[in-house]
């Protein structure tokens, strides 16, 4: 799900950087407020472990394929949402810089899609409510079941949200011609399957930790707590119902008669007037209104190369030919630079041993 820079427009990338940066700022502030300096090495070592652990292939029985662990849920269950979020940022930054897994300018979007949902949504809306609930009764086996359920639901929901965000970010960037609905239909089911597998693997690791050192897990009591916390169960059900509505609402776009819900919302319905959907007045805010003209002139003044377009160029054939010829020249220049670089390096390499021999002779 790591997005490359090519999939985003600068405005979308910047917006996602601001969003992720704000959450990172709040997380750092919270960590400092809690005064937990010893957490930094723990965060670093756990982040490094998750980084390495994500490279392990786990065989999925009966399929012949393999899956990986979900970092966000694991980190927030061990370190808490804020520390987990910061650790995920660091993992994503190292993956991006050293393994080209995700782009440098797309890092903000990747942090949001994987770290924010995995740590904050996964922890506050799924892990904590489930672990504090009295689902499956009391005792160690009930705790273990709650861990499994929380891990699976957490991974599935956060991956679905992440995949949906990838679709929105790419569509808003105007990168793909793939209709919004079709893009969703491509991304969501794949990530549903991935989420289930990742949930199971994460649950297995967390259950092992629970059996060995339960004190390491957040919101988990070693001996199992009293099982009559009805208020938290109701809260859990309400939160999960809201979450189901949100996710279900998102997925229903796929099944609706108008699959391009985002395009409809953004661009309006031509028959009813473009502004009808927003409840705005057509004369003031429609396509031929003063507001639209002003916005158009601002856009023209601020956009890069506003009149550039292949199809509307004065002489399409001429433009095409000159473009191809020019590109070939540029490619030729690039090759020349390579040759020149190689030539100078060889020359330098020849000079160095020659100087070395001279020095040896002198000594």
């Amino acid at each position: 799900m790591h997005m490359a820079d090519a999939l985003l427009a600068p405005a979308v990338a910047a917006t996602m950087y601001v969003a992720s940066g704000t959450v990172a700022g709040v997380s750092i502030h919270k960590l400092k407020k809690d005064d937990e300096p010893q957490k930094l090495p723990t965060m670093a070592v756990t982040a490094a472990l998750v980084f390495a652990g994500q490279m392990i292939n786990y065989t999925i029985p009966g399929t012949g394929s393999s899956g990986h662990m979900c970092g966000g849920m694991l980190l927030s269950a061990l370190l808490g949402p804020q520390a987990g979020f910061l650790s995920m940022i660091v993992i994503l930054a190292i993956q991006c810089l050293f393994f080209a897994d995700g782009g440098l300018m797309a890092l903000g979007a990747n942090i949001w899609n994987m770290a924010f949902y995995g740590c904050f949504v996964g922890y506050y809306l799924i892990w904590r409510p489930i672990m504090k609930s009295s689902w499956f009764g009391s005792g160690r086996s009930a705790q273990r079941l709650r861990i499994i359920v929380a891990s699976i639901i957490g991974c599935v929901v956060t991956l679905q949200l992440g995949a949906f965000s990838v679709v929105i970010e790419t569509s808003l960037s105007g990168i793909t011609e793939l209709p919004f609905g079709a893009f969703c239909a491509l991304m969501q089911p794949i990530h549903l399957a991935i989420g289930l597998v990742e949930g199971l693997i994460t649950a297995a690791v967390l259950c092992f930790v629970f059996e060995s050192r339960p004190e390491l897990l957040r919101d988990v009591e070693a001996e199992g707590k009293g099982a009559n916390d009805k208020k938290s169960l109701i809260t859990t059900i309400v939160i999960l119902a809201i979450l189901a509505l949100v996710v279900g609402g998102g997925l229903s776009l796929l099944a609706s008669s108008n699959p391009d819900g985002l395009e409809w919302a953004l661009f309006g319905n031509e028959e009813e007037g473009y502004a009808a959907n927003m409840g705005l007045d057509e004369e003031d805010f429609g396509v031929s209104s003063k507001a639209a003209d002003t916005a158009g002139s601002i856009q023209e003044a601020t956009s890069f190369l506003p009149d550039y377009a292949f199809p509307d160029s004065e002489s399409p054939v001429g433009t095409t030919v000159s473009g191809i010829v020019g590109s070939a020249i540029v490619a030729g220049v690039a090759v020349l630079i390579c040759f020149a670089g190689g030539f100078f390096r060889r020359k330098k390499a020849e000079e160095v041993p020659a100087e070395g021999t001279k020095e040896e002779q002198n000594t």
């Binding site: 790591h2 490359a4 820079d5 090519a6 999939l7 990338a13 990172a24 700022g25 750092i28 300096p37 010893q38 930094l40 090495p41 723990t42 670093a44 070592v45 756990t46 490094a48 472990l49 390495a52 652990g53 490279m55 392990i56 065989t59 012949g64 393999s66 660091v90 991006c96 810089l97 050293f98 393994f99 080209a100 782009g103 440098l104 300018m105 990168i175 793909t176 011609e177 793939l178 209709p179 199971l200 693997i201 297995a204 967390l206 092992f208 930790v209 390491l216 190369l305 054939v317 030919v321 000159s322 473009g323 020019g326 020249i329 540029v330 630079i337 390579c338 020149a340 670089g341 390096r345």
Partner: protein
């Protein structure tokens, strides 16, 4: 060599590249970081049909590869990670965008094909830029530059510490994976019965190690202040590199060099 070992050697190879010496390696990390960010933003800002305008942007990374003495091939190996999602998105463009944009002789080329090629080229260019940054700058210098740019201390320290431990942990995972596969020959991955214990064991050891690490940091006088790499002064050469390169990017962004050169020949 298994996947984990490959990652480990890739990490080591990047460190070795960054430790080399060249005019690009000698530049300040902050200048290179800002230059990379500017380059990527400008590449991202090209319109989906501006393929001819985007091609000259290739000249910059090619020039840097030559000046830094790094082989272009080392970068292309990493494309295996970037291209799948980019291609998955881009390959649909020729199907959905079929309006003819130009003719090359008798061959009609649709807008979808142009936008797909633009998208892939953008992917390659952005990858080259970030690869060049890391291949010509030691990681602790990048972290020092981030601090200079007022990125919070907590985040930068965490980045440095994690980077230090990524190598250690990856090595441990590589050893464990090797040992597992020697005892389970012919098995593709970790069996379901060992899903929890395999990583869980390492996780428990790591938590203890983190405590020991913190204790040793305290014994060496750690008081929430981390000493970063010695900062290289931002010299006139760095400023010139930054200003000239950004001016070049902007010129290439606003002037279609391919068209310009082509017109000189065709007319």
């Amino acid at each position: 060599m298994n996947k984990v070992e490959k990652a480990l050697s890739e990490l080591g190879a990047m460190d070795e590249l960054a430790a080399q010496d060249s005019p690009i390696h000698r530049l300040s990390a902050a200048a290179k970081l800002l230059n990379t960010i500017a380059y990527i933003i400008i590449v991202m800002s090209f319109d989906k049909y501006q393929l001819s305008g985007l091609i000259p942007m290739l000249l910059w990374p090619v020039l840097l590869f030559q000046l830094s003495g790094i082989r272009v091939g080392t970068c292309f190996y990493k494309l295996r990670i970037v291209l799948p999602l980019v291609m998955a998105v881009g390959l649909f463009n020729p199907i959905f965008d079929r309006h003819i944009l130009l003719h090359v002789g008798k061959l009609a080329v649709s807008g979808g094909v142009i936008s797909m090629l633009t998208l892939m080229l953008k992917g390659v260019l952005c990858l080259m830029a970030s690869f060049l940054l890391v291949a010509t700058t030691p990681f602790d210098c990048i972290c020092a530059a981030l601090r200079k740019m007022h990125v919070p201390k907590t985040l930068v320290t965490l980045l440095l510490l994690t980077y230090r431990y990524v190598g250690v942990m990856t090595e441990e995972v590589a050893v464990m994976t090797d040992a597992y596969h020697l005892r389970a020959p012919g098995q593709k991955g970790i069996h379901v019965s060992a899903w929890g214990s395999f990583l869980g064991q390492l996780l428990l050891r790591s938590m203890d190690r983190a405590q020991e690490l913190y204790s040793s940091m305290l014994l060496r006088g750690y008081h929430q202040h981390f000493h970063y790499a010695p900062e290289k002064p931002f010299k006139a050469a760095d400023a010139a590199y930054l200003i000239l390169s950004i001016a070049l990017f902007l010129a290439l962004r606003f002037v279609d060099l391919s068209q310009l050169l082509g017109r000189m020949i065709v007319r």
